[in-house]
Amino acid sequence: MAIANDFRRSELVAGLVRSINQHATREARFMEFCGGHTVAILKNGIRQLLPPAIALTSGPGCPVCVTDNADLDKAIALARLPNLIMASFGDMLRVPGSSSSLQEARAAGSDIRIVYSPLDALELARTNPQKSVVFLAVGFETTAPGVAASVLQAKKEGLKNYYILSLHKLCPPITKVLLDSGEINIHGLICPGHVSAIIGSNPWQFIARDYGIPCVVSGFEPLDILQCVDMLTQQVARKEAKVEIAYKRSVTPQGNLTAIKIMEQVFQPAPSCWRGVGKVADSGLVLKPEFKDFDAELNFDFDPGPTKTQKGCICGDILRGVKTPQECKLFRKVCTPMSPVGPCMVSSEGSCAAYYHYGEEDVR
């Protein structure tokens, strides 16, 4: 808490707010890519500190949310196989697929365990040698190195019952797709902190260079975010577009070279399906051929059934930054965290859940 408190000191907050006000001479809309940022912004009421000229809009950075129904259906079908343990991060359990969820599969008898790390899944494989253990590998560049390390370790130990279902997604390619679509009009990008801790800030250079949009990597404390908004506001005022880091304690331009190496050793880029966007080339990760023995998709026979989408749910539009949760007809009425229609209401990093829990309407 000491650290957290340091990052919430009121005099530092006031200084940054002054600077933002001073530089916000033009209207500007910044997109926070990452769901973690959306939550931090709402939880700390950061919009209340910003001048009217500065708008923040949420992006696609919630790995649970962007997982397509077809992929969720695969996970659910796999989990239903006999003699199989599905290990998953807790957030995934309640996400509705086409016609069911992992939570429902678990209630119907599937063995689904919540884990906090792929290494926990590996341990399940060691202690349950008579069963197959499948780790549901959902996440961005942040989680991929850990999963890669678990595969390398499994190979080293000669584990024959450990598999992953790789639904990993990559952040820079989807950002390019969003910008190319012309649907969003943004003047700055709040780049994801944890993703950039792995890949570095360099992979965002193309956005500044090719699209003229300022990019600043941010941490997740209120002061990090305010500093990031201040740096973006200053770039806009100076009509600059460059990549900066407001999260230097974790992020370098080159990133974590060890993590990148492990990731590249085990995975290769592949097309991936994003909710609300569709298939995007080279935006996912699959296991390289030499690791195919660990690929759940190649080693089990299962039928995910037909893919359906949720009626009336605008999670896709919200993830593209085109709409806000409050614009959804289902928000708070039909769709709540207790009975979520779409994933953005389930995930702890989902925009709809963040607006639902911390919403700023009528609190001041």
Binding site: M1, A4, R8, V13, N44, I114, P222, V363
Partner: protein, 334 residues
């Protein structure tokens, strides 16, 4: 004699007698329980409070307590939260076969110690043993009866605009202490559960003020859920200040790491009191003299507008809604 609880121990036959006499009766010994009739016969006069709760915490031993202590504190506290003086408890065990007898004894000893501290007696009980896999080591149910002193009227419906909101200490200790013991979470802490009987503290608070309107123990769902319940029941809003809510550094750090909000983490030795603002400081001063109220603080106030809402002024000076916990993000903790 087996060093583990066997199915036969729950059969009602000789082994059942043996386990009850050697473990429960010998430890919990009192004249009402010792009658061993089908019901306990007790005398009570006045307005009765009656409550029940089941305890399924896992692991059954955790830093600062165990399932036995929890089963007593939980029910004692539920009685105390309506201002009742807790008197009699029932105690029912559902044991998974194979539980070591020494663990059973340890838990019964802890029950005895906690009941003595709270001034309650166990007057009736039951033991069942189920097949392996039908329960997770040990489940306990307790029910309790207490007497509400004349003039005391405490209910979640009583909060009024202008009232002060008090907490008796740091939040989240129990939830984080239990979580730290879980396989797979892999963090170590010296933190202990706050599990404790609060009836003594409540009795002292009632000595200071007759304007205590609501009391509630923020167990599962944490402080956030309790405040939302009270705001809803009383048709008021509650405004709290982040700066004033006591949170231990370890709890704050663990929550940051696990992505939890301390406001949603369970407590087992905490109470929220909504009291007439005029009495608030005197009540807090008295609470701070009690070992279970040392860090007591006024954390907010009751307001009229936006009934049913809980709003927090953050450290940044901004405001946000504080919502109830939804679902069970992590395995069971009480």
């Amino acid at each position: 004699m087996s060093d583990k609880v066997l199915l036969a121990h729950g059969s009602g036959g000789k082994l059942a007698h043996e386990i009850i006499h050697n473990n429960f009766l010998s430890a919990l010994d009192n004249p009402i329980l010792n009658q061993l009739d089908d019901s306990a016969i007790i005398n009570a006069e006045g307005k009765l409070a009656f409550t029940t709760d089941s305890y399924v915490v896992q692991p059954i031993f955790f830093p600062g307590g165990d399932i036995g202590k929890l089963a007593i504190c939980g029910t004692v506290n539920d009685l105390a939260m309506v201002g009742a003086k807790p008197l009699y408890l029932s105690l029912a065990f559902i044991i998974e076969e194979g539980l070591p007898i020494k663990d059973l004894r340890k838990i019964i000893a802890s029950i005895k110690e906690t009941a003595d501290e709270a001034g309650v007696i166990i007057v009736t009980g039951d033991t069942k043993v189920v097949n392996r896999g039908s329960a997770d080591r040990l489940f306990i149910n307790t029910a309790g009866i207490g007497i509400i002193p004349p003039g005391v009227n405490i209910s979640g419906h009583n909060a009024q605009p202008g009232d002060a909101v008090i907490i008796n200490g740091t939040i989240g200790d129990h939830g984080i202490a239990v979580l730290s013991q879980r396989e797979g979470l892999g963090f170590t802490t010296k933190l202990e559960s706050d599990c404790s009987p609060l009836n003594g503290l409540v009795a002292e608070m009632l000595e200071v003020s007759n304007a205590i309107r609501c009391l509630r123990d923020p167990t599962r769902g944490g402080l956030a859920s309790t405040l939302n319940e009270l705001a809803e029941q009383s048709g008021v809003s509650i405004r709290i200040e982040e700066d004033k809510i006591p949170v231990r550094e370890e709890v704050g750090s663990a929550c940051e790491m696990l992505g939890l909000d301390p406001l949603h983490v369970a407590n087992e030795g905490k109470l929220v009191a909504i009291v007439d603002a005029e009495d608030a400081e005197a009540i807090v001063a008295r609470m701070q003299k009690n070992q279970y109220g040392r860090d007591a603080a006024i954390i907010g106030e009751v307001q009229e507008e936006h009934p049913g809402r809980v709003v927090m002024k953050t450290r940044l000076g901004t405001s946000r809604i504080v919502d109830m916990l939804v679902g069970e993000p992590l395995p069971r903790i009480c």
